[in-house]
């Protein structure tokens, strides 16, 4: 009985952890390439969720089917945000950069509330719904599919960054912008690409989460705090680090919440953040 419960808790933690990882990779990618912390990342997630919701409500397209469109749409949002806001603050002091993305967060949240009302929405019948039972372990199919999607997207991103020409150019820009420019890589284009991919990751995460989580304008806030912890633990800028850290944070949150008490689960996760900052500030796989 106890072993069963423990196993069940571990599976739940793993599933939610993979979703945290997916939210965090976009964040860490943008930071890795241009050293800007995107406070509006949770709002990209929210936009992804609403895109799925409206695709479902207006055109009866399932969130899973709509995923490529959600990703493309959010890619466009990311590029537009880069071209209109971020490009102008690249050389600005860090405080201005923080306030710019913070302001963007409030703007997007406010717009969502204005246009789509503060109501909680839900996609009632997704292609993926219901439960899976494996022996004594039970979990939701939507969570399982979302976790699979997270593995797929993170894997794809890793492949892109390390095995393709364009991805390598992005990595090169991240390592040394000056040198990359001298080698003929267009820095501006790379930055825009990073924002596009980062936002698209958040969009895909939103589409996957929308199959089981209520959708409302402030939903990004629930996830973004944990995503920051994941990014710090994984090491700023490291996609592989964010992936591993996401799993670790998910496991610690669910297991800690179960063993110590759910009222402490956020405290446990945030203490982890403090410990990482004290003991290993560069995170698991961050650049020294």
């Amino acid at each position: 009985m106890t072993a069963d419960i423990l196993f069940q808790v571990l599976v739940s933690g793993l599933l939610i952890g993979l979703i945290y990882a997916l939210v965090a990779v976009g964040l860490t990618l943008i930071f890795g390439v241009m050293d800007i912390v995107n406070f509006a990342h949770g709002e990209f997630l929210m936009l992804g969720m609403y895109a799925s919701f409206w695709a479902f409500a207006l055109f009866a397209v399932d969130p899973i089917v709509a995923l490529p469109f959600t990703a493309l749409l959010l890619f466009a949002v990311g590029v537009i945000v880069y071209q209109t806001v971020i490009r102008r603050i690249l050389k600005a002091p860090m405080l201005s950069q923080i306030f710019a993305t913070f302001g963007l967060m409030i703007l997007l949240r406010g717009l969502a509330q204005f246009f789509w009302k503060p109501d909680h929405r839900l996609i009632p019948h997704s292609l993926v719904s219901g439960n899976l039972t494996l022996g004594s372990v039970q979990f939701g199919l939507p969570q399982f599919v979302a976790a699979l999607g997270a593995v797929g997207v993170t894997g794809g991103l890793w492949y892109f960054l390390h095995r393709t020409r364009l991805g390598t150019a992005l990595e090169a820009t991240a390592i040394d912008r000056e040198a990359a420019t001298l080698m003929g890589i267009d820095g501006q284009k790379m930055f825009a690409l990073a924002w596009g991919i980062g936002a698209a990751c958040a969009g895909i995460a939103g589409g996957l989460i929308a199959t089981f989580f209520p959708i409302f304008p402030e939903v990004g806030a629930n996830f973004i705090l944990i995503a920051f912890v994941v990014v710090v633990l994984g090491g700023f800028g490291s996609v592989t680090g964010a992936f591993l850290a996401g799993i670790i944070v998910g496991l610690i949150e669910v297991l800690g919440g179960f063993l110590v008490g759910p009222e402490y689960k956020t405290a446990i996760v945030l203490s982890l953040l403090l410990v990482v900052l004290l003991v290993r500030p560069r995170g698991l796989m961050g650049k020294a």
Partner: protein, 450 residues
């Protein structure tokens, strides 16, 4: 608009000492100023409906403070409509159903009419206090009622207490309001503590009815003030009434997952879950119950998220069979012809059915009118005495109460909440058994057997 600097300066030079210049623009500015001033006055002092009208000798003025603008405006407008319906019935403008309290006019007041003077508190306790002061000092109301928000009722009734004007509150449920030992404050609605107590009475009743033990409870409350206060009270009542708390969880309302919470509940496996949640976490917890295959015999929800109109819309059949507390339910109209008749009047006049808030606002005015009539005078002290002597039977009310009778702190001791269950997409009354319209579905049917 961008003026060349020189032009702008010329315009100022020309106009500074010349009052007759540009009369069109000047009068437009004056008009705009006047309009702004007017807007500001309305915003500050609320909508004043009765200023300037002649005060007839036989007019009894009652101040009514509600949130008529701002975030809760839609509720405020409903409350206002209910109060006006009550006034119209008292004034015999529309024929009242037989037996309704205050439906007989004001025989002891020689047929005087009551006049409602509205104030708008905009959801703000300070504005509420200012409005109370305005209604008392410049509108010369004989009594006050309102204000829906507990925190506004608190400040507005303080003003009434200072001036020695009776304040009857119909729809604020914070328990502390009647713990202040005010002399001039009366409340018809039951308060939050009573609702929690009701759950335990309900469980006792259910044990008798089903012959099953429902003594092990799991407390599952969100961790802000509301959830914490509820947990404290539930813990105290569990001890007093010999219930065992199998698990006690206070969870953060803003969360991404509730698997650890539900896993703990599942491990403790109580017969009954008592849950206080806002909408988002209510939905997420229900989804997690289903995901992890957890189902208590009974889920007792503490209103809020579970009674939100969005809850059933989003949950569909997964929201079925949860049990929650309420102050009123439309199915009461099926049970009681009086409620049906008054509800029909409400629908005719304002196009909406009563709900828990408007039904209580209606009752507040009716009870106040009844007291003023019995007082036979508009002197505050006489009205206070009459309120203290109020004794209205259940048959005269549109509420599922045992009646109206105030204790020494002004709390109606005959008020009671009802318990509703979602059955077939509706909230139906299942307790107290004497006002129930449907039997309780117990235990909750399994997730896959619905």
């Amino acid at each position: 608009m961008r003026f060349p600097v020189a032009t702008t300066r010329n315009w100022f030079a020309k106009n500074r000492f010349d009052d007759t210049a540009a009369p069109g623009r000047r009068s437009a500015i004056t008009r705009m100023l006047a309009a702004t001033a007017l807007l500001a006055t309305t915003a500050l002092s609320g909508l004043t409906f009765a200023t300037g009208t002649a005060r007839a000798e036989d007019e009894i003025r009652i101040g009514v403070i509600y949130p008529l603008t701002g975030a809760a405006a839609s509720t405020g407008v409903e409350l206002k409509a209910a109060a006006e319906l009550a006034a119209a019935i008292v004034n015999k403008e529309i024929p009242a159903p037989a037996g309704l309290v205050a439906g007989v006019g004001m025989p002891h007041m020689k047929g005087a009419k009551i006049k409602l003077v509205f104030g708008d508190h905009q959801g703000n306790p300070q504005v509420g206090a200012t409005e109370a002061e305005r209604l008392i000092t410049s509108e010369k109301v004989t009594a006050l009622t309102g204000a829906y928000f507990s925190n506004v009722t608190a400040t507005a009734s303080q003003v009434a207490e200072r001036y020695g004007v009776p304040f009857l509150n119909g729809e604020s449920s914070s328990a502390t309001l009647t713990q202040r030992k005010f002399k001039w404050f009366f409340r018809t609605t039951p308060h939050d503590d009573l609702f929690v107590t009701n759950f335990f009475t309900f469980l006792n009743d259910m044990e008798k009815k089903t012959g099953e033990q429902l003594r092990s409870v799991g407390l599952f409350n969100e961790n802000t003030l509301w959830g914490n206060e509820t947990t404290k009270l539930q813990t105290k009542l569990s001890e007093e009434q010999k219930f065992t708390i199998a698990e006690k969880i206070l969870y953060p309302a803003k969360t991404t997952q509730m698997t650890s919470e539900v896993q703990r509940l599942k491990a403790a496996n109580p017969a009954v879950i008592m849950q206080s949640s806002y909408l988002g976490d209510a939905i997420l917890s229900m989804k997690t119950y289903k995901e992890l295959g957890f189902l208590p015999k009974m889920l007792l929800a503490n209103d809020a998220g579970f009674n939100d109109s969005e809850f059933l819309k989003t949950m569909g059949k997964d929201g079925e069979y949860i049990i929650s507390r309420e102050v009123w339910a439309l199915d009461q109209a099926e049970r009681n012809p009086l409620i049906k008749q008054v509800n029909d009047l409400m629908r005719e006049r304002s196009g909406v059915n009563f709900n828990g808030n408007s039904a209580r606002a209606f009752t507040g005015i009716a009870v106040l009118a009844d007291a003023i009539d019995r007082a036979g005078s508009t002197k505050p002290e006489d009205i206070r005495k009459a309120l203290q002597e109020t004794n209205i039977p259940a048959s005269g009310l549109i509420m599922p109460w045992k009646g109206v009778k105030f204790d020494e702190h002004g709390q109606n001791e005959l008020g009671q909440g009802i318990i509703v269950q979602v059955q077939g997409g509706q909230y139906v009354t299942v307790w107290p058994f004497d006002v129930a319209t449907k039997p309780v579905v117990y235990p909750m049917p399994a997730w896959d057997k619905r």
